[in-house]
């Protein structure tokens, strides 16, 4: 069965420093991986996805993610963090067992960026 793990409940970063939010996955077959962000009292906003191709995926708001097949990881990164990046981040994998494939989410990582 497909699954994702986000090993850190919270990540603290100073504004202007690089940030990394970790995600590892377990899938059978080729992974379809996603990152979403959730601000308080809001739904999920799509950041980026990996389906195939270049291992470095660029997304919204300056975020990028690196797909590493050998380490089964899909870490989210940003070169310079902003206070406004503080939010809850979810990694997800598409479950290809169904005809459409629903999303399977990690438990989330709270990112806190301090001025």
């Amino acid at each position: 069965a497909q699954s994702v793990a986000q090993p850190e409940d919270q990540v603290n970063v100073a504004e202007g420093n690089p940030l990394t939010v970790k995600c590892t996955y377990s899938v059978s077959g080729n992974p379809y991986l996603f990152w979403y962000v959730q601000y308080p009292n809001r739904g999920l906003q799509f950041l980026l996805k990996y389906i195939t191709g270049d291992n470095l995926v660029k997304g919204s708001y300056g975020f990028e993610a690196e797909f590493n097949k050998s380490q089964t990881s899909f870490h989210l990164k940003k070169p310079s963090a902003l206070v406004s990046d503080s939010a809850l981040y979810f990694c997800a994998v598409r479950d290809m067992g169904g005809s459409q494939g629903n999303l399977i989410f990690g438990k989330g990582t709270k990112l806190s960026v301090k001025p």
């Binding site: 739904g43 999920l44 906003q45 479950d95 459409q100 629903n102 999303l103 989410f105 990690g106 989330g108």
Partner: protein, 111 residues
Amino acid sequence: DAGVTQSPTHLIKTRGQQVTLRCSPKSGHDTVSWYQQALGQGPQFIFQYYEEEERQRGNFPDRFSGHQFPNYSSELNVNALLLGDSALYLCASSLGTGREYFGPGTRLTVT
């Protein structure tokens, strides 16, 4: 172009009651999925509707049921509410196998 909309924003129900949540998909989308996000957890897939039929279902009891209308909007019904049903319920829409767009969610509190 309106995105995914959900109603109501919040509601409070008592144990044993029934609740109906509503979702209007993004314009042009034909597939609607529902997720439950308990406090401190990631969203969990409930079910997905396409062409007015339930196409996929997650690990949720039969108390959770849904419907999709000809205009692609959808309802989530939960019967015999339990305290553990308190959560943020998210609706997501997509076109075919395209990526999902999420609505703002409905916060359900069961007392």
